[in-house]
Subunit: 343 residues, 2 copies
Amino acid sequence: MAATIKDIARRTGLGLATISKYINGGNVLPKNREAIEEAIRALDFKVNETARNLKTRHTGYVGLVMPALTNSFIMQIIQQIQLQLRANGYGTALYCSAPGNEEIRRQTELEAIDFLLQKGVDGIINLPQNEDGVHLLKPLELGIPVTLIDKQIPELADRVSSVMIDNVGAARAATDELLNAGHRNIVAFFHGETNYTGRRRAEGFMDALRQRGYPVDSERVVFMGGLGRGSSVDRIREKLRQYQPTGVFAANSGLTSRVLEALELEDLRVPDNVSVVGFDGVGIEDGRRIKLYSMLQPTEQIGTTAAQIMTEQLHFWAKGEVFPPQVRTLPATLFVGNSIRRI
Amino acid sequence: MAATIKDIARRTGLGLATISKYINGGNVLPKNREAIEEAIRALDFKVNETARNLKTRHTGYVGLVMPALTNSFIMQIIQQIQLQLRANGYGTALYCSAPGNEEIRRQTELEAIDFLLQKGVDGIINLPQNEDGVHLLKPLELGIPVTLIDKQIPELADRVSSVMIDNVGAARAATDELLNAGHRNIVAFFHGETNYTGRRRAEGFMDALRQRGYPVDSERVVFMGGLGRGSSVDRIREKLRQYQPTGVFAANSGLTSRVLEALELEDLRVPDNVSVVGFDGVGIEDGRRIKLYSMLQPTEQIGTTAAQIMTEQLHFWAKGEVFPPQVRTLPATLFVGNSIRRI
DNA sequence: GAAAAAGAACGAAACGTTTCGCTCTTAAAA
DNA sequence: TTTTAAGAGCGAAACGTTTCGTTCTTTTTC
């Protein structure tokens, strides 16, 4: 059907090995090179990647293991990674968790790795749900490079790369905005207590308070692990009623949207009743009278960097060398909205 | 390194062919079956998909060719397709256009097909940018099944499947909402004139007017082809000033967000000054005082259906049979907001 | 101009499966 | 029982590359 290297060999009268050499950029006599090129054009030859993969034991695919596609942060990262990967000739094998609770997401992640390993991928880029990194042991053992996004896994620090923002700094900056406007009664919402990103951002929040000598009330540092959308909105409403904060900080996109919902249900106005700083651009959409202050992550850069690290790793790996794991921490930026009232 | 079929054969004393047969679900003597299973467990054998692919000339990947990931409609579709595909054992090779103007998107789509064809995919699911379907000729020629999302390509109607909503009906329903509330001066914004989806929705809009005997003013049926974000917002503002509509219909998510921006810049309030119906859930986010009426597409169903059709096609194809192309038209639903004022 | 060194080309053996055509058992039919 | 038919098992040849070790050709060096 499609032309093979054999056809080229036959047509040019050269040997298989020579054709292969040419294809892979080796040196060939000028007249032979011309003959080969002519034949390739005439027969519309394309190398059969599958056959090549069988020999070289790699596949040209990078597995991208992500949570459910529920927010624009994840979406932009995926877009960017995929863009960069293909610019380097790699395909992107996407695997997203089904939406669901933490347990399900963790489980799906295990399946994701198995699935991709079985299909065959050269590397894995992952925004991890299993914070202990159990799911990465198998790929690592198989010598498959892993790059993490958004999180670090201490246990695996010397074996995997990560790309993320300065979470502590970002949360501190966000908190400072409220503090600068005179707010003292601030309630802040974070991911689950077991969540790396959540913990780091909580640290940043508390840092900001301590730095100015304000007390940290642990009741006002709220971790929202393992709650469904409905119950987390309820939880937020409780906190709002109980502490009547003048300022609220929501440490990720999901929480920001839940905070908005809770505020709405509690009939509290932003910024008249409550000042709000959110995350990842939720609440800054067009046509809103009130746009939230929001910490924006440099998604393009995160994606590009992750993919670049992966490509480098892969190149090293192809040469049989080991690649020292990289950790890149990028700064987040503040979107200035009108959701903060000076008091 | 990893165990192969040969190792299993050696260990069990059986022939290669027998092991292969077992793996592919053939009949084997009970005692042999046990022996094989034991060996597989003991050696942790996994079939080498690459080798299998070389023989069977397929890859277990479906290419997903999508526009840039800029809205939740696309995102949800991708999520769902990928979910369904993997449930059937297929990997998802994602390829998204770089963001950019129409020309670029069309070009990227050509590249996407080439890239995926070269990498090797068994089928292609595509939300097409090239409305004439030129990019699909090559895969079709190669016998690779294609399923379209969101659009139909008349020229290829007998060779590709499509899954989409009833665009005419959806636009008509949206328009009816404005009409029912007493609006007569309505300006409606659509994709480019050359865009299938845009044209169908424009039809629906005009249908709704005609059905009640109202005149259709072509100046109020605005196609926004080939404009960047900035200039399309300007265009909308012009129209708003010129015709001072009491009602506006935005026929997709991008346009809805642009309309919101334009309204904001023109200092027009929804619904006090202008009533609005949008698309794809833009403007119904939490924490908005005013939520738009919005036509919602059944993204889950679209994605699942597309992936299912693809899997069926692939199964037929594997048996050497031809699969009659399917066209599925799904209904959209209306989200009832508070963005319409009765007049 | 001969010897040595370097550069190209080559044939054959992998890589790990599936599958074809055949032989050998075993069960069913007579 | 014998004959037939069906069921399992098997070896060998693919699938389209890459790569190793070798031979052949050309260039360099003395």
